[in-house]
Symmetry: C2
Subunit: 319 residues, 2 copies
C-alpha cells in the first residue's frame, strides 16, 4: 500500500471561506473556516488564506502535499482567474491561480464551485463510476456542472456551465445578472421564496407564511410550513419542482446523462420535492428517454461536498 | 505522399438514400441515390443498398476502401441500431451495423444523421479546428449534434442529441413524438409553416399566402413571399428566428461553444433570418457570454454535408 498523500480543498463563498485537509482516499481529516468579509482588499485576504492553509497543513511534510484545489463562484478554470466575482468583489480580475502558485510554491487549481462539486460527486459521491451526469446545486442561486465522457465540460472560453442563467420564462423575473426570466430566479432557495410571495399575493388560502415579512421568509420556513400542511407552502414547492423537471427535459435530450444529481439547501426539502421533479420530467420527456435517467440527491454532506470537490481538482490530475 | 484511401458515406433518409465515395481529403468523387420506399422489407432494402454500394465502389481495390459510415435519423451509435425509425419503419430494431459488417465484410459505423453531419463540419466545414460547437439542422424536423472536447456527445445510452425535443412552449404545439411544445414544432421548416398558418388565423394583414392551402404552403414559398415584402411571411420568419435565438441561450450557457452552426433547408432563408437569430440570442444572454459565440451557416453544401458527415464516421476513427 502506498503511503497517504494529501490535498487541500478550499471553498470560497461570499460568506465563508472553508478549507479542508483531504487524504487520497477522500477522507476529510480537518477543517478551518473563516468569514469572507467582502470589504477586504485582496492583499489582506491573501494573508488570511495563507494563515488558514498553514493551520490546516502544519504537520504535513511538504512532499506529501499534492496541491490546493479551489472552488470559486464564477471562476474560469482555463485562466485560473475570476472574471466577475459578484459577491466577492476583491477577487474580480485577480489572476488567483498564478498569484497563489507563486506565493505557496504548490500546484493550485481554480474552478467554478459547481464544477468542483461535480468532480467531488464523481470521485466520492452519488456519481461514482459515472461518465455522464449533471449536478445542479440549488442554493441562493442555481449552480451547474456537466460531466461528459468522464470530464468536466468547461467550454471554449472556460465559462461553462451557467445553466442557472438559461431561460425559463421569457421576460420573467428580474435576475441579478441583469437579464429576466433566468432559471435560477424560479428554481433555487431564493426562487422558492419569490414563488411563495407571489402565491401570497395571487392565491387566497390561509397560510402561516402571511405572518412573515419577505425578509423573514426563507426556504427552510416554507419547507416546515409545507410539512405542517400549509397549502401555499405546498403549492410553492410543487411549482418549483415542476419547473425544475421541465428544464431537466432539455438537459436529458441534449446530453443523455446517466443521472441528474441535486445538491444544495433546496435539495433537503425532502421526498415530495424529488418525486414531483421526477414526475414532471417523465411527463414531458421524449419516449425513448423515459425511465433512463436517475434523479438523485447528492451523496456528499453539503458542508463536505464543496471542500472534497475542490480537493478533487488536484486529485483528478494526480490520480 | 501517401496513396489515397477511400470511404463511403451513406445518408439514409425517409425519402432518399444517398451514397457517396469520398477520398481521405474530403472530396466527394461520385454519388448514387435511390428512393427509400417506406413500404420495403429490410431484406429488399439490403439488396438495393448493396447494389448501390457496389456501383459507387466498383473500381476501388478492396484494400483501399477503409469502410462505410452511415447517418440515420434516430440511430444509436453505441449499439449500431435504430431503436425507433419513425419515417423508415423497416429499420426499426434492426441491428444495422452488425448485419452490414457481416454482409459486406467491411468496417461499418452507424450514427444519428445530425451527429454524422457535425463530424463532417468539424473535418471539412464551418467547424474546422473547433473543439466545442453545436450543429442544428433545420429541416422537416430539428436535428442536433454537440461536439465537446473534439468529440461527438453521444450520451450514456447513445441517445444524444435530440434537442428538437427540448421544451419551447409548455403544453404547446403537438409533436410527432407524442409530446407537446417541442422545439422542432416551432423551429424547423414545418415549424415555420405552422407559424405562418397560425398568423394567417390571428393577424389580419393582406398576404399572398392566403391563396395557398396548408398543404401547398412550405418554407420556400414563405421565404419568397417575405422577400417580396409580404408582412405575414416576414412575421413568421422573425418569430421563428427569435424562438431559435432564445433556445440557443440555453445551449451557450450550458456548453460555452465556440460556434453554433445552422444547416438544413431553413438555414437558406438568408441573412435576415441569421441576423434576427443573433439579436435574439445576444439580447437574452448572461453578459459574460455576449459576443463570444459565432452563429454561422454550414460550410458544406447541404447535399454533400450528409454524405461527407457519414463518411467522417470512418475517417474520424482511421485518421
Amino acid at each position: 500500500m502506498e503511503p497517504l498523500k494529501f490535498t487541500v480543498g478550499i471553498d470560497i463563498g461570499g460568506t465563508n471561506t472553508k478549507l479542508g485537509l483531504v487524504d487520497s482516499e477522500g477522507h476529510l481529516l480537518r477543517r478551518v473556516n473563516f468569514s469572507t468579509n467582502p470589504l477586504l482588499s485582496f492583499a489582506d485576504y491573501q494573508i488570511l488564506l495563507t494563515n488558514a492553509l498553514e493551520e490546516v497543513t502544519h504537520d504535513i511534510p511538504k512532499e506529501d502535499l499534492l496541491g490546493v484545489g479551489m472552488g470559486v463562484p464564477g471562476a474560469n478554470a482555463k485562466t485560473g482567474s475570476i472574471p466577475e466575482a459578484a459577491n466577492i468583489p476583491f477577487l474580480t480580475e485577480i489572476p488567483l491561480q498564478t498569484v497563489l502558485v507563486k506565493l505557496w510554491n504548490l500546484p493550485v487549481f481554480v474552478a467554478k464551485d459547481a464544477n468542483a462539486a461535480a468532480l467531488g460527486e464523481m470521485l466520492f459521491g452519488s456519481a461514482k463510476g459515472m461518465d455522464h451526469f449533471i449536478l445542479l446545486t440549488l442554493g441562493t442561486g442555481l449552480g451547474s456542472g456537466v460531466v461528459i465522457n468522464g470530464k468536466i465540460v468547461s467550454g471554449s472560453n472556460g465559462l461553462a456551465t451557467e445553466y442557472g442563467h438559461s431561460v425559463l420564462v421569457k421576460n420573467g423575473r428580474s435576475c441579478n445578472c441583469g437579464q429576466r426570466g433566468c432559471f435560477e430566479t424560479y428554481v433555487s432557495a431564493t426562487g422558492l421564496k419569490r414563488t411563495a410571495i407571489s402565491l401570497l399575493a395571487n392565491a387566497n388560502q390561509h397560510s402561516i407564511l402571511r405572518d412573515l415579512s419577505p425578509n423573514q421568509l426563507d426556504a427552510q420556513k416554507i419547507a416546515e410550513a409545507s410539512e405542517n400542511g400549509d397549502e401555499i407552502a405546498k403549492m410553492a414547492i410543487k411549482k418549483t419542482a415542476q419547473w425544475l423537471g421541465l428544464k431537466m427535459v432539455d438537459l436529458v435530450v441534449l446530453t443523455d446523462p446517466e443521472a441528474i444529481i441535486l445538491a444544495g439547501g433546496l435539495s433537503k426539502i425532502g421526498d415530495y420535492f424529488l418525486q414531483t421533479v421526477r414526475e414532471s420530467l417523465d411527463k414531458k420527456l421524449l419516449p425513448m428517454f423515459k425511465g433512463k435517467v436517475k434523479v438523485v440527491y447528492s451523496g456528499l454532506g453539503s458542508d463536505d461536498a464543496a471542500i472534497l470537490g475542490a480537493a478533487s481538482l488536484i486529485m483528478n490530475v494526480k490520480n
